[in-house]
């Protein structure tokens, strides 16, 4: 107990041990839930956008409970920007691939020509690939919106 009190004394105001510990415990579960929502999005309620928002919220929670720099340690700005672009490229690329393979744009059944699993199975898998892309992009944009607005684009202390 004494040790804890000493630790708390050293910290500047606004940093709460209870919040930090709770957030540290919660974040893995939030992220796992975000992945669950993305992965099950194509045949049950949920999807790339919703799952991406949950994933992004985990980083925002980290930045709120600790500070902006801590969240940047887990997900650097550069990686975040690359992920955002890659997410959209997965989405549009899948659509384009369908068109290049002789189907219509975003007509996933055309992907059957790469790996013959049957057009129906590919419709399900195709939307899954798209949801993953959307999820990555939404997560990255959510986090980057918070970082930029919270620190005026400086990426320093933040809120």
């Amino acid at each position: 107990m004494k040790l804890l009190q000493e630790r708390v004394k050293d910290r500047p105001a606004g940093e709460n041990l209870i919040i930090r510990t709770a957030v540290r415990l919660m974040i893995p579960f939030i992220q796992l839930y975000g992945l669950y929502v993305i992965v099950h999005g194509h045949y049950s309620p949920g999807g790339g956008f919703q799952g991406g928002v949950v994933l992004g919220a985990s980083f925002i929670l980290l930045a709120l409970a600790y500070d902006l720099r801590t969240s940047l340690r887990f997900m650097s700005e550069r990686v975040n920007a690359v992920l955002g672009n890659v997410g959209v490229l997965i989405y549009t690329g899948t659509g384009l691939l369908c068109a290049l393979l002789g189907g219509l744009f975003l007509d996933y059944s055309a992907l059957d020509r790469i790996l013959p699993l049957g057009p129906v199975e590919w419709r399900s898998l195709g939307i899954f690939v798209v949801e993953v892309g959307v999820g990555i992009a939404v997560m990255s944009i959510m986090t980057s919106l918070f970082w930029d607005l919270g620190s005026g684009g400086e990426m320093d202390e933040g809120l």
Binding site: R78, A81, V82, N85, V86, V88, L89, T92, G93, G95, L96, A99, L100, G102, G103, L104, F105, L106, D107, Y108, S109
Partner: protein, 497 residues
């Protein structure tokens, strides 16, 4: 790789290039130019092939993801949309050459961010031209608007404030449009334009349909800056980065006018649009005439080249809205021709402004002295653009204005005739005043011409400008075939002469 998807590739190339530019542009600036120019060249060639295909085999429809029309998103590729596809990609290609140079100068280190937004904007405009779905149109309209807000806010000085004003006005416009779509959806249960058009005549809900119609039109008028709703435009377009202005000014208003035509004839019928409500058609022509006169008058008061051009742009919006609402084939031909011509004329003048600002750093009138001597080729191209804007015969501006005048006389809207003629005269005054400043006045002592590099702008700025000036003449001389082969097919049935 089938040709069925050709128009889709036209739209996808800039979209994929946008994210590639963002990824690779971070690594090295050298990637940006080849990627964006390559994607747009591909789009322009693809758009040309699409137009040829439509002219040979007629209009066709396309379902995205193979979801059948009333449920899935449908794209409509008819002569007018194929022509607009070519116009948008061609103008974007020329504007990009100039933007590459200006942006390197004005926003060093942020080029990859600028061109990401820029290419998404091009993709959004191409999508707007293709779509046959009322809600998809809203989504694409917001994609183009949001990227435009971002591009304008990258300018210097008070650009962020102008962009904020534009966000407020643009969002109001978008809300109006969305409300209109909402009314239609409640009435018909569908968002597909062709489907709505087939259901609407059988409905007995005149007040609700009229409300939807009014919301859709007012929303688009805010977005295209028709005169009393134009307040956001001059600041936003004149304070945007030069590279953004060169692309946004020629395309955004013109594409919105194309959308107005789509709403009037593809969702509603010409009969409903023009004759269902007494006085509306005549009232809008009066409003357009007023828009032309007021915007031309305001242009006279400007002391900066780019601000003056933005007011001329607002007057031109009046030309096209009035032309469509004259409710006869000649007026509509004039308006559709003017969409093409005005995009090229505005591009030419803004490219010239970009070249001047690159060399002299200012567009204030008193800094333009002696410009003909210093930048002969740039100013020659500027002169062609100005002649076209005034409407002097071999240039294309004359022909569309001629059709608009003829249409106005046929419809006996003398106020529109008067407004068109007055605006042409005012344009003549505006541009001849500039010619006088730049040709006859010697460069003053205050202009540090010795410290500035003399001569024309660098080739990357100059070549698109000269090409556009040539295009103005070519389109002017090719007006006959253009109307005969493309625009006549785009007129709604019953209006073709």
């Amino acid at each position: 790789m089938t040709s069925t998807n050709l128009h889709m590739y036209v739209m996808m190339a800039p979209l994929l290039a946008a994210f590639a530019v963002n990824l690779l542009g971070r690594v090295s600036r050298a990637w940006i130019g080849p990627l964006s120019l390559g994607a747009l060249t591909f789009s322009t060639i693809g758009a040309l092939l699409t137009l040829l295909r439509v002219l040979h085999h007629g209009a066709y429809r396309y379902t995205v993801g193979n979801w059948q029309p009333p449920f899935g998103i449908e794209l409509v590729i008819d002569p007018l949309s194929a022509l607009m596809l070519l116009l948008v990609s061609g103008v974007a290609l020329l504007a990009t050459c100039s933007a590459l140079k200006s942006v390197q100068n004005e926003l060093p280190g942020r080029e990859h961010l600028f061109f990401t937004l820029y290419m998404i904007l091009v993709a959004g405009l191409l999508g707007l031209v293709l779509t046959g779905d009322a809600f998809n149109l809203y989504v694409l309209l917001e994609i183009t608007s949001i990227t435009t807000y971002g591009l304008i806010a990258m300018g210097s000085g008070r650009a962020a404030l102008s962009s904020f004003n534009y966000i407020i006005m643009g969002s109001i416009g978008a809300c109006f449009y969305l409300l209109g779509v909402g009314y239609l959806y409640i009435l018909t249960g569908t968002l597909n334009m062709a489907d709505i058009a087939s259901i609407l005549p059988g409905l007995n809900a005149p007040a609700a349909i009229a409300t939807a119609f009014a919301f859709l039109l007012v929303g688009l008028w805010v977005k295209m800056a028709l005169f009393p709703l134009h307040i956001w435009l001059p600041n936003a377009y004149s304070q945007a980065p030069t590279g953004a202005g060169v692309m946004i000014a020629p395309l955004m208003t013109k594409v919105t006018i194309y959308l107005m035509i789509r709403v009037m004839f593809s969702i509603f019928s010409p009969d409903y649009t023009f004759f269902a409500h007494a006085g509306v058609q005549a009232g809008i022509v009066w409003a357009a005439s007023l828009a032309i006169l007021c915007a031309s008058g305001l242009a006279l008061a400007q002391r900066n080249l780019r601000r003056m051009l933005t007011y001329i742009l607002i007057a031109e919006v009046g030309y096209m809205v009035g032309g469509v609402w004259l409710a006869n084939g000649t007026g509509m031909t004039g308006a559709m021709l003017h969409i093409v011509n005005d995009a090229l004329m505005t591009l030419c003048l803004f490219l010239a402004a970009a070249a001047i600002i690159y060399r002299t750093g200012s567009l204030e009138f008193d800094r333009l002295h002696g410009l003909y001597r210093r930048m002969p080729l740039t100013m020659a191209a500027f002169t062609v653009g100005a002649f076209s804007m005034i409407g002097i015969p071999p240039t294309c501006g004359f022909f569309s204005k001629w059709y608009l005048l003829l249409g106005a006389v046929q419809a006996q809207h003398w106020e529109f005739v008067a407004a068109l003629l007055a605006s042409s005269l005012i344009n003549a005054v505006l541009f001849f005043r500039l010619f006088e400043l730049a040709y006859f006045k010697p460069a003053g002592e205050d202009v540090p011409s010795a410290s500035q590099p003399c001569g024309d702008a660098p080739p990357l700025l100059l070549s698109p400008l000269v090409l556009t000036a040539v295009a103005l003449l070519v389109v002017g001389l090719g007006t006959g075939p253009l109307i005969e082969n493309v625009i006549r097919l785009a007129l709604p049935p019953g209006f073709a002469p």
